[in-house]
Symmetry: C2
Subunit: 195 residues, 2 copies
């Protein structure tokens, strides 16, 4: 079974963007780069909602390189970008089927509604957050529609440059992922930096 | 100037209680006990809002021992409990004046509206959170009415028993507190447990 990871950067008060979707408060660092690179090697698929896709597209992106990108939307037309596939089906049913196929991990990008739908369907296995040292006061919440309590198991926490705190959790009851070389490297990367 | 600390336990999605104010998801541990004991020695005053006071009173408490307790309320009558003083004045003005008097640190208990008012008035110097490994989905938010961005400086983060993560921040621009023996002991306690 493929591991589904929800990853995000958040403010201390649990927002992933300002009310106008801007993320000018995010801090990039070598630590973030190392975590992202190690994580990226464990996945081959990115899933995102329409809003996340449109924010990324406006800033010149819209499809991540080297992975399969699925965007859930009932209104968007099929993209002429071969990296992007628009999925009009129910996101939870699609991701449930995708988890059963062969492949590496699946990353849930952005957050908000898609992440909540997948949490509610019990499809998210891991949550990785980069908690930033700021209270925004208002914005786009990380999990706006989670309907039931989700118990987590802390895998690691550590301080990053710039006062950020990285926390990685497994959802309680989620299947333990296979120890692929990439996942071991991700752990090794973590262990080395902790010493 | 006395240091004002907002301290709380929160879920990963930023709630301090369920919608019905229950906190059955909180985990107590020897780590939490050590942090609380060391912190308690640095303060002599607790301020809280009416709702926090009433929740505490229903569960048999209502005034913390060994400290001066102020409860902000325009409707409550003066308590016959000598440990409690009901303050009908504006909370921000009262705490601003209190900070100028002699004494140890001041703890903002509970959260929600009082904490937001004090943040908005620039009166909170430190934020200590015990982030629990759970997504509640709904509840009482930690900072429901903060109107401006508050930049923080991470002082420490560390993993506690049971998968909790303790984070302590200073509000950017807040005055550095005097290094009293109690504050040094709090730091020493932290340092010892990290080694």
């Amino acid at each position: 079974m493929r591991t589904v990871t929800f990853g995000a950067a958040s403010s201390l008060d649990g927002f992933i963007a300002r009310p106008d979707h801007s993320v000018d408060w995010l801090r990039w660092s070598q630590d973030v780069s190392a975590i992202t690179n190690a994580f990226w090697k464990t996945i081959d698929t990115v899933v995102m909602g329409r809003k996340t896709y449109e924010v990324a597209r406006r800033s010149g992106g819209g499809g991540y390189p080297g992975v399969k990108n699925y965007v859930f939307s009932r209104t968007l037309k099929q993209s002429d970008n071969p990296k992007i596939e628009i999925i009009a089906d129910d996101a939870a049913a699609f991701v449930a089927a995708l988890k059963q196929t062969n492949g590496k991990g699946i990353c849930v990008m952005g957050g908000g509604e898609l992440a909540s739908d997948l949490f509610n369907a019990g499809l998210i296995d891991e949550v990785g957050l980069n908690v930033h040292p700021v209270v925004l006061g208002s914005g786009i919440p990380m999990f706006p529609g989670v309907r039931k309590q989700i118990d987590l198991v802390l895998i690691e926490s550590r301080q990053l440059e710039g006062g950020c705190v990285y926390v990685l959790y497994r959802v309680k009851g989620a299947e333990e992922p296979a120890a692929t070389p990439e996942r071991r490297a991700r752990g090794k990367n973590i262990a080395e930096r902790n010493t």
